[in-house]
Assembly symmetry: none
Homo-oligomer: 132 residues x 4
């Protein structure tokens, strides 16, 4: 669990944490059955409030990435995401960013090159060896 939180970012901490954990799962650093640290542990490791960690864990639980057992903490669950249903949700999130990008006179080719980097990237600080 090498998780980087940017305290200066305008992105809420709980959301950064959630994304970082999903990313670790995708990259294989966290596998089904692995235990996440307790909210207290992780909170103190990252120097953030345990309620913030808790909020991230609950979102991950709601989206099926982890299972929270009352006394045993959080366990990475089987990937069950059916996927692909709601691409429009992502399109809506991407559209404003793409508009800003196009306003910078960035070509589609340049964008694709940027996306190549992003797509392969693990989380900041990640060591990519095994995915894909």
């Amino acid at each position: 669990m090498f998780i980087q939180i940017d305290m200066h970012s305008s992105v809420p901490i709980y959301k950064q944490l959630k994304t970082a954990i999903i990313s670790s799962i995708l990259s294989g650093k966290l596998k089904e059955g692995d235990r996440l640290p307790s909210v207290r542990q992780l909170g103190s490791d990252l120097g953030i409030n345990l309620h913030t960690v808790n909020k991230a864990y609950n979102l991950l639980k709601d989206e099926g990435y982890i299972i929270i057992h009352r006394n045993q903490g959080a366990i990475i669950s089987k990937p069950t995401k059916a996927g692909k249903e709601d691409l429009t949700e992502f399109a809506n999130a991407l559209l404003p960013i793409v508009i800003e990008i196009r306003a910078r006179n960035i070509t589609r080719t340049q964008f694709d090159e940027l996306m190549d980097v992003i797509w392969e990237q693990d989380m900041i600080g990640g060591d990519n060896d095994e995915h894909r």
Copy 2:
């Protein structure tokens, strides 16, 4: 000026408005020299407060998309975006979305197809056949 605002979105209204106007400029629906409606006019058209419109206009002014004259409202300005300097800013915005997308088991190819649609898209509801 056919602008769609989603009052229920978590994206702030002023930001939606700003994005919509930039998009209209990109698509050619708004051209250099065109006048934007007054803040009062547009606010009442969209059913939002004039201060919210004002905030969007001021952001557009700060980023060089429009020029605001005290008594004549807002005018679309020459595009002067130098561009390309700070791609990392966009990468940071895209990364969490991409992570969510990958978590849905969407392939890079499928993503590119989605991006084809987004990239070419003018604004929602936009009919852009008449702009020369």
Copy 3:
């Protein structure tokens, strides 16, 4: 009367006009007894509203730079500024600008060099031949 008005500036037009006329007096382009154009004339020359010209003229009258005769237009008056009474007024106007300048790590020497240019300058578009 070669007066440049920047319609894009946030400085009110009437104030730009007033400053430009004072500058012309200082540089000798306008001398005691010279007639200023009528408000209609100057307004149409500059492409601005005659009320705006009128406002500038009235300020100049109030500050003793010109005399307005009901039917003969505005005449440059004898310089009667006693001067030097209220330096604090200027200090207050200069202070915020100086603060911004210092925040840019500009040295006093660099500032003095800048001031050399400003001090000698006639108005934009002015042809300096005779003053000092």
Copy 4:
């Protein structure tokens, strides 16, 4: 935080506040890492609306003087002003004042003496002996 606001000035309150804070930073009364009062706190201290304070803070944020954390208020940031690029901006601001000054028959020497005072000045009412 001893900040003087002139409610009767034609200079907007938020701009006075912004300038005062920059000045405090320059003079060393505010140092990197120091916390500014919350918008509510400072607003009530100064007898102005919190939104007015907020506007000043956001300008300071945009110009890199402070960092605003969602839950911890505003922190003085590292000075990162590159500086020196756009002296013309300042020249334009200084020119009309200089013209008024010259119209008062103030000599360059007298002006320089005035500037000596302004340049060295910390903030009005500031007692800066204790900052290291």
